[in-house]
Symmetry: C2
Subunit: 140 residues, 2 copies
DNA sequence: TTACAAATCGTATTTGTTACTAACTAGTAA
DNA sequence: TTACTAGTTAGTAACAAATACGATTTGTAA
């Protein structure tokens, strides 16, 4: 979910989180990324502007974003967690070979998913919809 | 997926896996369980009949079952992996509080899911459909 | 029966994540 | 501006689940 610095700052302050340059940099990167990055990946990006940033701060900031409901953590076998800033109902298309993750989102899917929920008769507090595939590049 | 010992033995032999008493016990337990058990949970069950069984053997047998396509591993934040022997298209209804997992499966859901796949235009090799809820007991 | 590849058990190691702590800093209110 | 304080950071230690390793045992095909 992309937003302006001012919007982000309001959200953090309203929830009692202090605004630091590290947080702003991490949030801006993660919330605008479509790559479902790992903590290591986020760190390697942020360290360019904040050379002393620690991996721990990345994890703590992810915990904050999860607490704020702005990010979802996805765990996998054999690889580290990916962080998804798309919190709307959508499908993650995940390549089994190269681990690339692409979102698929549409009104049609939201409608079909809501019908599935209706059939199950549950009140969801979240969901994770993964489809495992071989992506076009890995199929070759 | 429940099956007879003979069916199971055939599958193992056909794939070049040896048939051992430990494997039979683990497979029978896991393939008939609806609980999405953890490795520890499986171990605590099998150790009753095989007192020397190691946790390592549980993990190795799970790898085998995953290789055979009979089991799917589900990783989570803050808790250990759960192993799901229901490999058909279904939704895992997962309580955020007590971590109980219940399958929901129906012709309607398979139909709706196939329409989602059609819209995405992908050839899935698998999927993981999680809905996070508060179960009836935890809601009280 | 024998030979050998594979499986098991027990343990060591790895790895991703979490916990801890001293130093630092954002926010607040004189 | 200044001083205070609770929250944040960086660095590192600790943790736990999962994986790798190696000696011994076992299943299976000759
Ligand atoms: Mn996504
Ligand atoms: Mn299931
Ligand atoms: Zn790929
Ligand atoms: Zn519950």
């Amino acid at each position: 979910m992309t937003m302006t610095d001012d919007q982000l700052i309001s959200i953090l302050r309203d929830s009692g989180y202090k605004v630091t340059p590290q947080r702003l940099a991490i949030c801006n990167y993660v919330l605008s990324s479509k790559e479902h990055p790992t903590a290591e990946h986020i760190h390697s990006e942020i360290v360019k502007k904040h050379p002393a940033i620690s991996l721990n701060t990345i994890y703590q900031t992810m915990d904050m974003l999860i607490d704020l409901g702005l990010v979802q953590e996805m765990r996998f076998s054999g690889s580290s967690s990916r962080f998804d800033s798309n919190t709307s109902v959508h499908v993650n298309i995940i390549c089994q070979k190269c681990s690339k993750i692409q979102d698929f989102e549409s009104e049609g899917i939201r409608e079909l998913w809501s019908r599935i929920l209706a059939e199950m008769n549950v009140e969801p507090v979240g969901q994770r919809l993964d489809v495992y595939v071989l992506c076009d590049e890995c199929k070759r």
